[in-house]
């Protein structure tokens, strides 16, 4: 257990409000990733950080699953700002050598690519040529 972990996060921009969390679960309840992946639980990540389980939090892949949609930020009644805390955690994870330095950048690039793909599909669907089903990723896998 790393008792200073909480303070380390609070000292970084974006992590200041970590300890304001009262564990209500609004972040998890509104999170589109949590809806898909049972193990992704923002409330639990915050609690583990507060308790000082730094190794477990920083080495796990959960902190990279966040898509930075910031729904948790608007849902939080205490303004804890989980989306910003996750970015602090990613920084720390890289600094401690758990992940490659360019992971964040590569993830960003990939997100942009997904976004471009989404925009293209939208354009084609709106033009009336095709429907969303034609681009179903599930269908492509079969």
């Amino acid at each position: 257990m790393n008792k200073d972990f909480k303070q380390t996060i609070k000292n970084r921009p974006g992590g200041e409000n970590l300890s304001l969390c009262y564990s209500c679960g609004s972040c998890t309840a509104t999170c589109p990733v949590s809806e898909q992946v049972e193990d992704f639980n923002p409330r639990l990540i915050i609690k583990k950080s507060l308790l000082g389980f730094s190794e477990e939090v920083l080495s796990g892949e959960e902190i990279w699953q966040c898509i930075q949609c910031r729904r948790c930020v608007s849902a939080c009644p205490q303004n804890v700002r989980f989306a910003d805390i996750v970015r602090v955690l990613r920084e720390l994870a890289v600094e401690e050598g758990h992940f490659a330095e360019d992971l964040e950048e590569r993830l960003d690039d990939y997100d942009k690519e997904v976004l471009r793909y989404r925009l293209e599909i939208l354009e084609e669907v709106l033009a009336g040529d095709k429907d969303f089903e034609d681009f179903s990723l599930k269908a492509g896998g079969d």
Partner: protein, 1026 residues
């Protein structure tokens, strides 16, 4: 005559304050902005934790307040401004036009159905409609209609006018104008109440978007039998009965985004009430409650929570709901939440109720500012915790939710306390105030007359006559034996009808009266006055209710209703024919208060009573005054306690009206209201003490303020380690000069909550421990930021503004973790080293710590000698051995015994500020008795026939009021006419029929029943006879 007091707001708080002042003999102007008294409480269906019908317990209070000779009520009236100073305020008021003459309107309701306009029914939260002319609520007080000018066709377009045509009393006045007027007042009580949060406060819940999402106040109306759905829990969209319903706690409260970080304090318990009542309505319904912390911190509320947890189909889910989306079927709702302590989860429901919090209306906040009364950041009255109920402006006092979120009993306490403070400005002349004496009116002697009964049958407009053939009933009634005269009248309640009854009494020399009309609950005093006016003893009256129990319930069967009306009258005649004239008695009242306990509660109660002008004897068993408060370092707001306590003690010691008996033990207590006697053992060593040393003091009332005590924990190594202390011991540590425990090498501090509270053998919440732990932790952390502090709790109960303290504690970096009652933290000790292990429920991890200091939030216990004291006082304790109040909702400082009042920890756990408020309330309630030179007894009390009594004591055993006792010397039971409430318990158990109840004599009731059971030969034109 003392100067008047203005009370703003006619909800339960205002009504209580007005009644208490009026009972002290102080004239009151009661100002209400709506057309009826009653406020929010009148909109509630049931009240927690007893599930009492709200209207049923409130209505009698409203009626007695409204009818009190010292209360002048102005409805539809608002306060404009206040000039002057305490003792001499000039209060400018504005009365909006009602367009109905309040003197002439009898509330018959003839006009209500005829109005062609439909408008939204404010009383039903807009979920139903009534006419432009309407009664604000069915039980409106005053029982008078009102016209909504903005919707009335006559007022706006000079069309229609149907209500004027229909009204038989010439009560409609379309030309009424707004009136402005000024009243003079010694002081002002502000009790303007609150608004429930708007449903769309939390936009994620889509309140307006989803029609089946309702607020808690709307749900109260839905549950209510007189509400928009006649008490059926059905959906607005399709009228389908609900099978699956969710309640969302903290809908807007504890939320920074809504600028309402405070806890609204009542929503947890009222949601539990909603869950239980919903279950009563629909047996198989599934009820889910989504909560963050269950805050059932009030007296008896934890048991209520436990009861709900044990109810099948009521589920508590620890999760805040993030949003509500449309469900898979039309009208259904999908809630996004977590699965308790686990991850994401969604559930669908038929209906969702938002547990909306309490906030002051903008209007209330604005008018407080106009009054130059300081408000806090949430818009409530800014209150000094050492001077509760006072506002920043001298002479103006707050009570009820304007002082912050609180429930009904706390609002009622506030009200009686505010009355005690406001009364101090009204310059009471103790010798000349509130003297109540039995009327010296001489009544006609009727004992030797032939029985001549007069029967009056009321049409109540069409209310009765529309169903029942009133004329036929009258004609048949004239033929009943002993009936001398029978008459039907359009409206018996109108003032000319009262005169008519008087004339008939004289004309026909009537000596018994039967009134067949509506309910005696509201109208009996009126008819008693009418016949007393005519020189007849008012107890020679019998009312039968042929409206509520006749025309209203048998609308579809007019013939049978007519027959039933006649039967009821026949029974009424049979009963009243043997009625005896009764009189109320007088008992001397000693104008002195006896206060037992010299802690903060007792001191404060004594001070307020003395400031009102009443002599007080204060008894304290210790030599020093101050009680538990002496060991408190700082208040929950973080201010030092000692200076305030010292000042209070100095004031009490210096007050010429207060006698202090410090170091005195109570040997015995005897007497009853008006005449209590305390026998005291003075601080004389046993060896040299004799009976002559005993001190006797007498008074009209007793205030019990004996305090409580801290639980001594047996767990968590408290008994065998000096590093384990209680929160109270931590306070002492923090206030001592050289702190021996919180020193530099003490790096890690743990606090454990609910030690001895909320457990099987002590199932109550000690209420103050959460905020106390937060305060102490914040204090330490602010002075020593490097210390690591962790609070282990079950539910964080930082109610009201203490939620801000909770947030501050988290902001400072104090750690919080939950534990479950069946998986408590484990503490072990090896030498000086403490080891603490607990399972953190969110992560499921076992955490091990080595605290340097462990602080336990030990339960607040009732004093061990409560039982002895309660036996001496003959007033009961509750199941947890705290003193029991007369009614949990509406009489929170009265004990079950007349003339005994409760304050502070003797009544139950509460913090210092709440104790000070309650002791003011006890003073206010006590003053309403002390101000009377004589106490009037009821006329309808039990009476013992000494010849028949066998002194078996059965009556004594069943009397709930300790009003009947066997005199061991004389061997007969004796009734204390002051204490007897006329309930009739004793008459029911008395085997030799030695005890009878005046006004309800056994013979009268037997006559009544036999008449109802007898074969009825009378024939009715419409063959209603069965």
């Amino acid at each position: 005559m003392p100067d008047p007091v203005v009370v703003v707001g006619g909800g339960i708080a205002g009504i209580q304050a007005a009644t208490d002042l009026a009972e002290m003999g102080i004239p009151v102007y009661l100002i209400e902005k709506s057309p009826s008294l009653g406020g929010r409480m009148a909109q509630l269906d049931k009240t927690f934790p007893t599930n009492d019908c709200s209207t049923c317990i409130l209505a009698p209070k409203i009626t007695s307040c409204y009818n009190h000779e010292n209360v002048t009520t102005y409805t539809m009236t608002e306060l404009i401004n206040v000039e002057g100073e305490p003792g001499n305020f000039r209060v400018r008021l504005k009365k909006r036009p009602r367009y109905v003459d309040e003197e002439k309107c009898t509330g018959c309701g003839d006009c209500l159905d005829k109005c062609p306009v439909s408008i939204s029914d404010e009383y039903n939260m807009g979920m139903s409609e009534y006419g432009a002319i309407h009664k604000y609520q069915p039980q409106a007080v005053p029982n008078v209609a009102a016209i909504d000018a903005s919707e009335c066709l006559k007022i706006n377009e000079d069309k229609c006018g149907v209500c004027e045509k229909i009204c038989n009393f010439d009560a409609i006045e379309y030309k009424q104008k707004e009136k402005k007027f000024v009243v003079q007042a010694a002081s002002i009580i502000y009790a303007a109440g609150y608004e429930g949060f708007s449903g769309d406060l939390v936009s994620d819940y889509g309140y307006k978007k989803h029609p089946n999402v309702v607020t808690s106040l709307e749900y109260e109306r839905i549950l209510n039998a007189a509400g928009p759905t006649d008490g059926h829990v059905i959906r607005q969209t399709d009228g389908e009965e609900v099978e699956n319903i969710a309640f969302i706690h903290c809908s807007g409260s504890r939320d920074r985004r809504t600028d309402k970080n405070y806890c609204s304090s009542v929503c947890c318990t009222y949601s539990i009430k909603h869950a239980l009542i919903t279950k009563e309505h629909i047996k198989d319904v599934n009820v889910d409650l989504y909560y963050m912390d269950i805050r059932t911190f009030g007296k008896g509320f934890e048991r209520y929570y436990n009861r709900a947890q044990e109810t099948e189909g009521v589920n508590f889910i620890r999760s805040r709901v993030s949003e509500i989306e449309p469900g898979s079927n039309p009208g259904d709702l999908k809630l996004k939440a977590t699965d308790d302590d686990n991850g994401y989860c969604e559930q669908e429901y038929d209906m969702v109720v938002l547990a909306s919090g309490l906030e002051p209306t903008q209007q209330v906040t604005d008018s407080l500012q106009k009054l130059k009364v300081r408000t806090n950041k949430y818009g409530f009255v800014d209150m000094d915790e050492f001077n509760p109920l006072s506002t920043s402006r001298p002479g103006i006092f707050g009570c009820g939710v304007v002082n912050g979120p609180r429930d009904i009993p706390e609002s009622v306490m506030d009200a009686s306390g505010a009355a005690a403070l406001a009364g101090q400005h009204a310059v009471l002349d103790v010798k000349d105030m509130g003297v109540e004496a039995a009327g010296d009116q001489e009544f006609r002697v009727t004992q030797n007359e032939r029985t001549r009964v007069g029967v009056f049958v009321c049409h109540c407009g069409t209310n009765i006559a529309g169903v029942i053939d009133v004329e036929e009933v009258k004609e048949k009634a004239a033929g009943i034996p002993f009936v001398e005269h029978a008459e039907d009248v359009k409206y018996l309640c109108s003032s000319d009808s009262q005169d008519l009854i008087g004339e008939r009494i004289k004309e026909h020399n009537l000596n018994r009266i039967v009134v067949a009309s509506c309910t005696p609950r509201t109208h009996e005093p009126l008819f008693m006055d009418a016949i007393a006016e005519a020189g007849l003893n008012p107890y020679l009256l019998e009312m039968t209710n042929i409206r509520d129990q006749g025309s209203w319930v048998h609308k579809e069967e007019p013939e049978k209703a007519t027959w039933k009306a006649f039967e009821l009258i026949r029974a009424g005649v049979a009963r009243v024919k043997n009625a005896l004239p009764l009189e109320r008695g007088e008992v001397d009242n000693i104008a002195r208060a006896l206060v037992v306990g010299g802690g903060a509660a007792g001191l404060n109660a004594a001070r307020e009573l003395a400031n009102l002008g009443f002599p007080v004897s204060l008894v304290e068993r210790e030599e020093e005054l101050g009680g538990h408060a002496t060991s408190l370092k700082h208040s929950l707001e973080g201010r030092p306690v000692k200076p305030h306590l010292d000042r209070l003690i100095a004031e009490v010691k210096g007050h010429e009206l207060i006698d202090i008996y410090a170091g005195h033990e109570i040997k015995d207590i005897t007497g009853f209201v008006g005449n209590y006697k305390l026998e005291l053992i003075p601080p004389v060593p046993k060896e040299v003490r004799s009976d002559k040393d005993l001190v006797e003091i007498e008074g009209g009332v007793v205030i019990v303020a004996t305090g409580g005590q801290e639980f001594e924990p047996l767990e968590y190594s408290y008994q065998d380690s000096e590093q384990v202390i209680t929160q109270l011991e931590l306070e002492e540590e923090l206030s001592s000069e050289n702190q021996s425990l919180v020193r530099d090498d003490c790096e890690e501090i743990y606090m454990i909550q609910c030690v001895g509270s909320r457990e099987e053998d002590r199932p109550y919440c000690s209420r103050i421990c959460c905020s106390q732990a937060l305060r102490n932790a914040v204090h330490i952390k602010e002075n020593h930021p490097d210390k690591d502090i962790t609070i282990l709790y079950r539910e964080m109960r930082s109610y009201g503004y203490y939620e801000d303290l909770y947030r501050k504690a988290r902001d400072l970096g104090i750690n919080f973790s939950r534990y479950e009652v069946d998986n408590k933290p484990e503490v072990s000790r090896k030498g000086d080293e403490l080891t603490l292990k607990y399972e953190e429920p969110l992560s499921g991890k076992m955490i091990t710590a080595k605290p340097d200091l462990l602080v336990l939030a030990a339960a607040i216990l009732p004093r061990e000698d409560n039982l002895t004291l309660s036996q001496m006082l003959k007033t009961p304790l509750n199941e947890d051995q705290f003193f029991l109040e007369a009614h949990v909702k509406l009489r929170p400082v009265d004990s079950a015994t007349d003339g005994i009042f409760l304050a502070g920890l003797a009544h139950g756990p509460k913090n210092l500020s709440e104790t000070l408020a309650q002791s003011r309330a006890a003073a206010g309630r006590a003053a309403s008795i002390l101000s009377k030179e004589y106490l009037l007894t009821q006329a309808t009390v039990a009476e013992v026939d000494e010849e028949l009594c066998i002194a078996c004591g059965d009556c004594e055993r069943v009397c709930a009021y300790k009003a009947i006792e066997v005199n061991e010397e004389e061997n007969v039971a004796e009734v204390n006419r002051v204490l007897c409430k006329g309930c009739g318990n004793c008459t029911g158990v008395c085997r030799p029929h030695a005890v009878d109840l005046n006004g309800f004599l056994n013979q009268q009731i037997i006559d009544e029943i036999e008449t109802l059971l007898a074969k009825d030969d009378s024939e009715f034109a419409k063959t209603g006879g069965v």
